[in-house]
Amino acid sequence: MQRLALASMEIQDFGAVSARTVVAGVEAVCDPLGALYLPETRLLVVSDLHLEKGAAFARRGMLLPPYDTLATLKVLEAVITRHDPAIVVSLGDNFHDRVGSAHLPEMFRTKITELARGRDWIWINGNHDPDGTVDLPGQSADELHYAGLAFRHEPSLLSPAGEIAGHLHPAATVIRREKAVRRPCFATDGKRMLMPAFGIMTGGLDLRHKAMTGLFDRPSLVAHMLGRDRIYSVRFANLIG
């Protein structure tokens, strides 16, 4: 529960714990809580919230703790408070299943409404929730093109330039002295940015997995890994010691 603990901590020097990068000429900040902030447009991106994942499993007979939505929203609240964005883009798989937003308990609905007050909120549709959201603030869309960037859930093999995508839950593994540490990460080669999954109960997929093949120019690929209390930036070639 590193991110949840980090979300409730006061950060003195944000510059020291985050990582600045540039995607297709647009300046961006990787927040250690797993969100991407674009200062020029005051736009905040989060991806793969997978809200109501516990409930989705409960619907299938596995009674996972009903606290994941609560925890994810707490982290989301912290990151929104920090940056006070004008626009929030949630990059798809906002809910873990199609009926997730319809069955959302009232307390969470209220919370999201509070967070969205005074800003634009875009729900990009994902493969888990292709039908958009029910009874929530903001608008749904399959893609968003804004400020020279393309925001979509699944990375497209055709047009990498300026793409911000999610879906794959990238994670990177560092191996030093025969010991391995794996963490979720932002992955970017300067053209495309692949976002870490923001949901508290989501797993990760290694950057070396075949699903990642062809997405990046590997010599320029950097993994901005989510550490306990800061971002660690490691070049792809240096992941394995």
Partner: protein, 846 residues
């Protein structure tokens, strides 16, 4: 052999009960029914439930079945067209292979006597059609496993199937009762007693420390009194002949491979017909097997057997062994239990046995004829193990036992059982509580806790009640709990059981061409833990299945490997079943250190080592804790010698490190073995203790088991692993799901995340309580640590040395092999990130 007048009354009563075909069969074989066999027959027939304690080779199996066989013989065949008759006898064994094996050993007498008895097996491998037929037309005797019993009683037809049950026989009861499988089985037995109130139980066991635990386990417990089964004891056979291997080579300071002794071990194999070589871990098995084949000039048929190997391969080894085609088998605990292994005439134990009872049981594998002594050779892998082997050898002659206690029934197992009972039919909560508490592991269960378990099964038992509409079981108007839909029962059946496997990947052999891996149709070699593979890079080599393999990569759920053309390999680091040193042996080793009179039995080099230690430092007294401090390189070390086993030492190491950290002593790390614990720090620990900042007595105060333990548990990765097991057993996350098999990785990732979420939002949840109980008893060994802290209070001896002592050498050699956890992980990340900064300053904006 027995003259008639020496026969006891019970033996005579048993003989009188023996139907003619049996008496004739014994006579034809030239055998005399043994006294314990006849006593068991007489007392069971008279209606008693019994525990039979007998050494291997005492005709235990036949003894266990005699009451059922004679009863069925008297009953005769059921005429066709009669009303449905359920099974008469249930035989439950911990091993699938054992049930198959007993079928052979039981079927032989049954067919030779021409008894009208139908015997069948039922395991996870039994085809669906045969299971179906067994339900419709049950055999007289069913040989099965604990998991199958759980499945059968969770079925709607259980009442009909078990209504005629007379006997339940538990084989290897001593090994069953101490595990969660035993807990589940005890609950199953409680249900069987309700379905067939007159049933008698017969437990078959090796010698144990506390027979009363087992006797209580076998019968119904009531709140007012403690009931227990009767006891029948067979006389022990000839004393085994055990020696400790004396090698020309030096016994190493540390390590577990015992490579130094290979020539002598090989000679011993050559000098005997069939040898069983026992080791404690799978990696040791691989290394030993490899080392033997390196010197196997006579190409003796030597095989390997451990739990990770492909099932087909294991069965081939077992078959070859039974047919006496092998000269030696290198094996782990998968072979501990009582399979009949043909004519084994030598057991070689490589590495220390860790427990006196374990050694006795393993030695029992050699020579099943109980009148001849078993032969065994102990091969210590390092110097501490020399003492441990000597202690185990002494214990064996004294008949000392150190089997673990039965323990409190686990809550995750109870949750599984409650769901199973709902699948069997509607239940009343109070009635089920009464039934559950009649099982000896659960007699102390409070009613309130049982209620929470039922709530957990229904809706997850969370304080935040949002899952009512997804309940798996519901209380209906008549006050009974029922499953919500048929899907629940299906899910239960798929997830049943208490053995949770580590996430494993199949290891598959592929060919390697000039351009990399070609094809993927090669043989499957077995399974290996995923976390081990995560540390490998393509091209790395490792030992598995007796081969040096080259790691090629992971494809979906398979680990691809090719033949490596080298003899050197990275050692398989995965540890399977490493037992901690038993309390009894630990005490014996301490007393041996304290008593130079007992050093006579030790090899010269070990004696010299101890003498040197006495000269430059000191040897700890039996009830004393010795602590040495010394500088080395740029660091300061503290080595403690509690001899309480690796698990307790690990917990102690974690707690001491935290305390030193808080005192500002800048500890850097620690490493634990079965015998000692080393902590290193930037500060001079010797000086620290000398000026009592803190003092050793406050550092080692029992109060560390209070808040410090709690605080540490919060972030312990060990607890996550325990939680995963509990969550799978309790049915919170699934082992498998119809149609789509989850990979181990998916289960692992989500279990850790679920643990984090649950811990931060509902730390008192029943499943977290189950997890803490499990960890305290298992991985953390809290009880033992607590006992030790009490024992050493006021008996701590500190030696400030200017250099490493002889006794400290073994543990100092272990440093660097420890795993990374917790905060240390982030320091590796920082290291990797710094590499990048150093290399690419200004190149990319990071």
């Amino acid at each position: 052999m027995n003259s008639f007048d020496s026969i006891s009354g019970e033996t005579a009563a048993g003989l009188a009960l023996l139907p003619k075909p049996f008496a004739d069969w014994f006579a034809a074989k030239g055998w005399q029914p043994r006294a314990h066999q006849m006593e068991l027959l007489a007392r069971a027939t008279a209606g008693e439930s019994l525990l039979l304690i007998a050494p291997t080779g005492a005709g235990k199996t036949l003894a266990g079945f005699l009451p059922a066989l004679t009863d069925l013989t008297r009953r005769g065949k059921i005429p066709p067209g009669s009303a449905f008759t359920g099974i008469h006898t249930l035989y439950i064994s911990p091993l699938k292979a054992l049930a198959v094996d007993i079928e052979r050993n039981l079927m032989k007498p049954v067919s030779e006597m021409g008894l009208p008895i139908l015997v069948e097996t039922r395991t996870g491998d039994t085809p669906q059609a045969k299971r179906q037929r067994q339900r419709l037309n049950p055999p007289d005797i069913l040989l099965t496993t604990p998991e199958q019993v759980a499945l059968l009683i969770a079925n709607g037809e259980a009442e009909r199937f078990f209504k005629d049950l007379k006997y339940v026989i538990f084989d290897e009861l001593h090994s069953l009762v101490t595990s969660k499988r035993g807990h589940l089985l005890s609950l199953g037995l409680a249900r069987l007693r309700r379905l067939a109130p007159g049933l008698r139980t017969i437990g078959l066991s090796a010698t144990v420390a506390e027979p009363m635990d087992l006797r209580r386990w076998l019968v119904e417990q009531a709140s007012e009194q403690q009931n227990h089964a009767g006891l029948v004891t067979a006389p022990g056979g000839a004393k085994p002949i055990i020696t400790i291997l004396k090698s020309e080579e030096r016994v190493p300071w540390s390590g577990h491979s015992a490579k130094y002794a290979m020539p002598e071990v090989y000679e011993a194999i050559k000098a005997h017909q069939t040898s069983l070589l026992f080791v404690n871990t799978r990696s040791q098995a691989e290394i030993l097997f490899q080392a033997l084949w390196n010197i196997n000039e006579d190409t003796l048929p030597i095989a390997l057997h451990h739990g990770s190997l492909d099932v087909g391969q294991r069965r081939r080894v077992e078959a070859a062994m039974a047919e006496n085609r092998l000269r030696a088998v290198v094996a782990t605990s998968t072979l501990d239990l009582g399979i009949d292994w043909g004519d084994v005439d030598l057991v070689i134990h490589v590495g220390a046995p860790k427990g006196a009872s374990r050694l006795a049981q393993r030695i029992g594998r050699a020579n099943h004829r109980m009148d001849e002594p078993s032969r065994a050779i102990l091969v210590p892998a390092n110097r501490f193990e020399v003492m441990e082997c000597q202690a185990a050898l002494d214990a064996n002659y004294l008949g000392a036992q150190d089997t673990p206690p039965v323990g409190q029934g686990a809550l995750d197992v109870l949750a599984q059982h409650v769901l199973g009972m709902a699948c069997a039919g509607p239940f009343d909560e109070d009635a089920l509580f009464a039934e559950v508490t009649s099982a000896s592991p659960y007699t102390e269960l409070p009613r309130e806790k049982f209620g929470r378990i039922v709530q957990f099964v229904a809706t997850g038992g969370y304080a935040l009640k949002t899952y009512e509409r997804y309940a798996r079981i519901r209380k209906t108007a008549d006050g009974l709990w029922r499953v919500s839909n048929p899907g629940v029962a299906q899910q239960y059946r798929l997830n049943l059981g208490t053995i949770v496997e580590m996430p494993m990947l199949n290891v598959r052999m592929v060919k390697r061409g000039a351009k990399g891996v070609v094809g993927r149709g090669g043989a499957s070699l077995g399974k290996v833990e995923e976390y081990f593979l995560e540390m490998l890079a393509p091209g790395d080599t490792f030992l598995f299945s007796g081969k040096v393999l080259r790691f090629e990569g992971i494809r979906e759920n398979e680990c691809l490997v090719s033949q490596a053309f080298s003899l050197d390999a990275k050692v398989p680091a995965y540890a399977g079943g490493k037992f901690p040193l038993s309390t009894y042996l630990a005490d014996q080793v301490r007393s041996m250190l304290d008593d130079p009179q007992r050093w006579g039995a030790l090899p010269d080099q070990v004696r010299d080592w101890l003498a040197l230690q006495r000269d430059v430092s000191t040897l700890p007294k039996r009830d004393e804790l010795l602590i040495e401090t010394f500088p080395r390189g740029s660091r300061h070390y503290m080595v403690a010698y509690p001899f309480e086993g690796r698990l307790a030492h690990q917990t102690l190491g974690m707690l001491l490190t935290r305390r030193l950290e808080r005192a500002g002593r800048r500890p850097l790390g620690f490493v634990a073995t079965d015998y000692s614990l080393a902590i290193w720090a930037l500060d001079d620990l010797g000086y620290t203790f000398a000026v009592e900042r803190p003092s050793l007595s406050s550092l080692f105060d029992e109060d560390m088991l209070g808040d410090d333990l709690e605080a540490w548990l919060d972030e312990s990765f060990m607890l996550k692993r325990t939680f995963r097991n509990c969550a799978v057993i309790a049915g919170l996350i699934e082992q498998r799901h119809p149609g789509k098999e989850k990979t181990g990785r998916q289960v692992t990732v989500s279990a850790d995340l679920i643990y984090d979420v649950l811990r931060s939002h509902e730390p008192d949840h029943i499943l977290l309580e189950a997890t803490r109980n499990d960890a305290a008893a298992g991985l953390l060994d809290i009880q033992r640590l607590g006992d030790m802290l009490v024992r050493i209070k006021g008996h701590i001896t500190h030696r400030r040395l200017d250099r490493i002592s002889p006794l400290a050498v073994p543990i100092m050699l272990e440093i660097g092999k420890e795993l990374v956890a917790g905060e240390a992980q982030d320091s590796l990340l920082a290291e990797a990130a710094e590499d990048l900064i150093a290399e690419a300053m200004g190149e990319t904006q990071i």
